[in-house]
């Protein structure tokens, strides 16, 4: 197999730390969005149309909240993948270090 190693040890370690942080923070953000937290209201992309008087106004906003929450969960899942990749790179780097000696 050709070399699967494409980044050095430092970049891989940074990637791993970033992924762990990303997973934790994006997962928590996702939870807070799906529980419709009021503090995050400015991050939800609602428009004037969604707030028109009507029976579904509240449900519209909640739907948007859920959408953003799911986006966050998907991003967290992508970061799990990136974290796994970085971990593999670290492993390969360590092996390479032992082989050269």
């Amino acid at each position: 197999m050709a070399s699967l190693l494409f980044c050095g040890p430092k970049l891989a370690a940074c990637g791993l730390v970033l992924s762990i942080w990303g997973v934790i923070m994006l997962a928590m953000l996702g939870i807070f969005f799906t529980t419709h937290s009021a503090v995050l209201i400015e991050d939800v992309p609602f428009t004037e149309k969604d707030m028109e008087d009507g029976p579904t106004a509240l449900q519209n906003i909640y739907k948007l909240y859920n959408q953003v929450g799911y986006n966050c969960f998907i991003a967290a899942a992508i970061y799990v993948g990136i974290g796994f990749l970085s971990f593999c790179q670290i492993h390969l780097n360590k092996r390479k270090e032992y082989l050269v000696h």
């Binding site: 994006l26 503090v39 995050l40 400015e42 992309p45 008087d53």
Partner: protein
């Protein structure tokens, strides 16, 4: 009792020991690391001291060791690390080590010289070898050309030829009868060749034939001489005197010339002889390298041990230079500063040392009284070391003064956290500090100055992070968002009909609405349990509220910190028995601060506790200014009923304080005018200083505001862009934008803001806190300690 409260009590002790046991005794004291030798010969220059020759010898040995280490690094020999604590050798071992070192150095230098010479030979032989191979082709071609008398333009020449030479070959070939072509062959660097050719052309006007070809760079060639490209050239000329000219030109261009065989069979012979010579040389080179590696490996096992021995000996000789040698040359007198609580340890170390050297007389310790100021010694452990270092950076404490380091352990991270206040950032900082603390030993190996600073301050960073999480929870700020853990005390629903004034149309008409706490149900009456209410995070007048809150909080914290400093000065006065200073300095200072700033804090706290309508609430600032100007008009709104009386009491105290400063009397015969002026200046300085120092604490507000705003801007401009995309691409954008958010958080908010808050908290300690009680005019206790010596070298 050894504690961080004040510096240790030190005593001056005279030591008498025999000259033979000197080495061992001093080495034992060095291992103990608790005594500082006083210089008993201060007037003597460095080169006039007794043991200066020995110190020079040690330095020479250190130089040889450095050379050895450099050679080892060059040849990639592994240096073994020794861990045992060796005994210091006495004077005999010094000579032995010296001779070993000199021998090793000579051997190594000789090997290197031989190696270089052999290498040079090999390069020359390789040049000759490739030269021979090229010239074979030249000669064949030349012979074939000279036998034909056809015009040369139809000839196909496989090598590169200068075009202006073809015209000349005709004339050469016409004299084919007597061909006295002599030739010169050599090797020149490829980049110099065009210039070389031009010079020859100008000199001889084309009366020569020049052929050149690039030398093939084999791998071995590259390994031996490097990646320099060289060309082989051969010049055919007529006549002998031109040879000398050409030789000079070649020397000018640093081309190396070699003698070439003339007939066709000689090249083959020469080639084979060159080959065998090269084989021999290669073998000799290999053997030399192996021998060198062997010598270095044998030395590498001991080099660290030798290094530490040499350092210890140099330290011992340096210390001996500080002592006095008795007339009879048998007794050494030394004076040391040592903590009183460690006298027994010093005694036992000396006894051990003298036993090792086999002398019969035990060293004598004699404690003497002195008027000189002892050095300041604060016993620290790895945790308190960092805090003591940042206090000592400003000034080492006077002997037996209160040590502010013990309070700094709490107040410094707290003031930092007030300015940093974000529990998300605090959490990241704490995790970073935990990682550095757990990896401290392996990180020290990087030997970078920056990492050394971070490792030295790892406990400070840990505490700063933990306190920041706490203040972040109080400010209710986590990456600029608030947590609603306990339920907000404000309720928007109650503003609507039937409780409050809002109707459905109100929402359509107005873009900004104000929650009125006097409408029943809007404000529950109980404040949020812990910290700032989360409703403020989404309020548009958040800053008006937070600014007022943080400013008042900064003033309260500042005045408390300064009052604590003034209280510490009382402890100092009691310890140094300066009772008159208590009445004439401490009490007036306290009264001044309490009457002015204590009253201000009382006003702040009172205003926070009572319920006011915001439109009619009196401003504390205006109140204070009016009090100072003695301005009471009946239409001014009063904060509380007895206010006029309270203000008058204050002013009375203030004026009393100022006058009592000038009544300071001294017992000595000094001019009263001088004292009055001095005290007046001091009084004014203290009063104005109090005001300016209190205002200086407002930086706590300023930095926390800056941090909160930066954090919010980062969220809004970076992460919110990704969150607001509701389509499927939103998650990918979120991944990228989160990475940018994380990098910017670490660089701007953690590192830059962290350093800034660190610096400002440090300044508040050094200037505003410590100028109330700290003198800082001592000198640090620097014991003779082999551990710290060896640690600093590595």
């Amino acid at each position: 009792m050894s504690s961080l409260f004040r510096s240790e009590e030190m005593c001056l002790v005279q030591l008498f020991f025999q000259t033979e046991s000197a080495h061992n005794c001093i080495s034992e004291l060095g291992h103990l690391g608790l005594v500082q030798f006083k210089d008993l010969n201060p007037g003597v220059a460095a080169f006039q001291r007794r043991f200066v020759k020995e110190v020079k010898k040690c330095e020479e040995m250190e130089r040889i060791l450095r050379y050895l280490e450099k050679e080892m690094v060059k040849s990639n020999t592994v240096i073994a690390a020794t861990k045992e604590k060796e005994m210091v050798p006495c004077a005999r071992d010094v000579l032995e080590l010296e001779s070993t070192f000199e021998k090793l150095e000579q051997e190594l230098r000789e090997i290197n010289r031989n190696h270089a010479a052999l290498r040079q030979n090999l390069i020359e032989l390789m040049d000759i070898d490739s030269l021979l191979r090229m010239t074979e082709d030249f000669f064949e071609e030349a012979e074939s050309l000279l036998t034909y008398s056809e015009p040369p333009s139809e000839d196909s020449v496989s090598m590169t030829v200068s075009s202006h030479i073809t015209s000349r070959r005709n004339s050469n070939s016409s004299t084919s009868g007597a061909l006295h072509l002599s030739f010169i062959a050599g090797v020149i660097k490829q980049e110099r060749f065009p210039a070389f050719e031009k010079v020859l052309w100008r000199l001889f006007h084309g009366n020569f034939v020049l052929r050149h070809a690039e030398m093939q760079a084999t791998e071995e060639l590259q390994a031996v001489r490097g990646a320099v490209k060289k060309d082989v050239f051969i010049i055919f000329v007529q006549g002998d005197h031109v040879r000398e000219k050409i030789r000079k030109v070649c020397e000018g261009f640093r081309a190396s010339l070699y003698s070439c065989p003339k007939t066709l069979y000689e090249p083959k012979q020469m080639s084979t002889s060159v080959m065998t010579q090269m084989e021999d040389l290669r073998m000799i080179l290999r053997r030399t390298e192996e021998y060198r590696a062997g010598v270095l490996t044998r030395a590498a096992e001991h080099v660290q041990e030798w290094g530490s021995k040499v350092k210890k000996m140099k330290a011992i000789y340096y210390t001996l230079n500080l002592c006095n040698i008795d007339i009879t040359q048998k007794l050494i007198v030394a004076e040391i500063w040592c903590p009183v609580s460690d006298l027994t340890l010093v005694q036992s170390a000396l006894i051990k040392g003298s036993e090792q050297s086999g002398s019969s007389v035990t060293p004598v310790l004699n404690r003497i009284q002195t008027q000189q100021t002892p050095p300041t010694f604060n016993r620290t452990n790895t945790f308190t070391e960092g805090f003591q270092a940042i206090i000592d950076a400003y000034g080492v404490g006077t002997y037996q003064e209160i040590n502010p380091a013990s309070y700094t352990i709490v107040t410094f991270p707290f003031l930092f956290a007030v300015m940093f206040g974000d529990c998300g950032h605090g959490l990241v900082m704490t995790l970073f500090a935990v990682w550095v603390t757990s990896q401290a030993e392996s990180l020290r190996k990087w030997k970078n100055e920056l990492t050394d600073v971070v490792i030295g301050g790892r406990y400070i960073i840990l505490l700063m992070g933990m306190f920041s999480i706490y203040t972040g929870l109080i400010y209710n700020d986590c990456f600029s968002k608030s947590f609603n853990i306990f339920g907000s005390s404000w309720c928007v629903l109650s503003m609507f009909h039937p409780h409050g004034p809002w109707q459905n149309e109100t929402l359509h008409e107005y873009h900004h609405l104000q929650l009125n706490p006097f409408v029943p149900g809007v404000y529950s009456g109980d404040p949020y349990v812990f910290g700032i209410d989360p409703v403020w995070n989404i309020a548009s007048n958040k800053l008006s509220f937070l600014n007022s809150f943080k400013m008042k909080m900064s003033v309260i914290l500042g005045v408390s910190h300064m009052l604590f400093g003034v209280a510490l000065s009382l402890v100092n006065f009691v310890h140094f028995r300066k009772f008159q200073d208590i009445f004439l300095q401490f009490v007036p200072q306290l009264i001044f601060m309490l009457s002015l700033f204590g009253y201000l804090i009382f006003l702040i706290l009172y205003k926070w506790c009572i319920t006011l309508r915001s439109e009619t609430a009196p401003s504390i600032l205006l109140l204070f200014i009016n009090m100072m100007l003695f301005d009471y008009q009946s239409e001014h709104v009063l904060l509380y009923r007895g206010q006029v009386f309270g203000n008058n009491l204050n002013d009375q105290h203030g004026t009393d304080t100022r006058s009592s400063f000038s009544q300071h009397q001294k017992d000595e015969m000094v001019s009263m005018g001088d004292i009055f002026v001095y005290q007046a200046i001091h009084t004014i300085e203290f009063c104005l200083g109090c005001i300016s120092n209190t205002a200086s604490y407002l930086r706590l507000w300023a930095l926390s505001l800056a941090h909160a705003e930066l954090s919010e801007v980062l969220w809004r401009m970076v992460l919110q862009v990704g969150l607001k995309i509701s389509s499927g691409m939103g998650s990918l954008m979120l991944v990228v934008l989160f990475a940018a958010f994380a990098v910017l958080t670490v660089t701007v908010l953690l590192i830059m803001e962290g350093l800034s808050a660190f610096l400002h908290a440090l300044r508040l300690h050094w200037v505003e806190f410590q100028n109330k009680f700290y003198e800082g005019s001592g000198y640090k206790f620097t014991p003779l300690s082999f551990d710290s010596l060896l640690k600093t070298q590595q």
